[in-house]
Symmetry: C2
Subunit: 197 residues, 2 copies
DNA sequence: CTTGTCATGTAATTCGTTACATGATTGC
DNA sequence: GCAATCATGTAACGAATTACATGACAAG
């Protein structure tokens, strides 16, 4: 039930169309939640049926229809209540680790390639997150700017701080994965040397 | 398509029943993959239709039916081919982080509770993983023992090593989350002090 | 006039969760 | 006799992916 609340959350910053939301949920490697447009459009309709959001079709531009959704009071209440409840942790499903434990009869180069891919993947993530953290600090990160705009200056440190915190968490994760992959690669080199000796 | 390969992987150690597999996929906080029995039983039937596994019903015990699945040569080949292919990384979906970025108008105690829960969750995971790592090193971890049994001694360091590596990765992750949560809590305390000053 | 971006949708399928359902065996 | 564990399944629903489908507008 999280797509629902992810949408309500994004709409709590400002009204947006399905297209806008699909862009935000797809770009920047996902920014905490990913969803495709084919999941978003029907979900928004469902939220409207439930009275949690309300849509207006753009007048002005004829032909080019654009449906903008805004949060209703009921939607804001639903979001608040979800935010207050403790998080239920999703069961672990980790394809890479799963592969790793069964790779024990594969050629050593296959194992190495997997670990190198893993390192590369998280290095790419780290680059993106580091850039986004810089943008958060510089106050040029669009989503943050919009969120600050509608709120009093006294609330700004908390608003910014929580985003920075979340991003730092992603950075810490990426670094951990990179370090782990590097340690694993050294260990693998050791194995190979011993195997040849 | 990973449940399929998770099952093939587990069956590559030794034949097992749906019940055995459901126990392994459910216990110990999941050991890299979680699935419920209601997903496992039909999937095993499908794998049998595809000729990747083969089942035998226990004779001997009448009434108490127990269906044991073993990997076929085709199943082993499918597993090898999956293991060789590069991993596709799942898009990010992180409920806790998502909540965190929208918690900026909630009472500070709600934020604190979320961070404390997060720390607690990963401390619990860390305890389990640390115990399992000890068992791996002591050679008393059942799944590892079984896997070593069917393979020559020269392969043992690699078999054990990869499991240790995977577990160390989980431990590193858990530690990172705990440290992050603690940093976040200190920051939050600072915010509260400033807010009251 | 064609490519790219904006914009919104539906359909088919697969994957995963929750709940329902049944029956045998073992230990107390 | 009763509870716990072993053992296997189905049904209904919800979440997510992939593919199909359409059309406006802007820039070159």
């Amino acid at each position: 039930m999280s797509l629902k609340h992810a949408l309500l959350g994004f709409l709590s910053t400002e009204p947006a169309s399905g297209f806008d939301l699909a862009r935000e949920f797809g770009e920047s490697l996902g920014w905490f939640w990913y969803a495709s447009h084919s999941q978003i459009y029907p979900e928004l309709r469902r939220l409207e049926e439930q009275g949690l959001v309300q849509s207006t079709t753009s007048t002005g531009n004829p032909g080019k229809q654009k449906r903008t959704y805004r949060l209703t009071e009921a939607g804001a209440a639903e979001l608040r209540s979800w935010l207050e409840q403790p998080t239920e942790y999703a069961p672990m499903r980790d394809v890479e680790r799963l592969k790793l434990v069964f790779l024990d009869s594969a050629p050593i180069d296959v194992v190495r390639r997997h670990l190198e891919d893993h390192r590369k993947h998280h290095e790419d993530l780290l680059a993106v997150y580091s850039q986004q953290l810089r943008e958060l600090h510089q106050g040029v990160f669009p989503r943050l700017v919009k969120r600050l705009a509608s709120r009093p200056a006294s609330a700004h440190p908390m608003i910014t701080g929580l985003k920075v915190l979340a991003m730092q968490g992603n950075i810490a994760r990426a670094r951990t994965e990179i370090h782990w992959a590097e340690d694993a690669l050294s260990w693998l080199d050791g194995m190979e040397r011993e195997g040849r000796a």
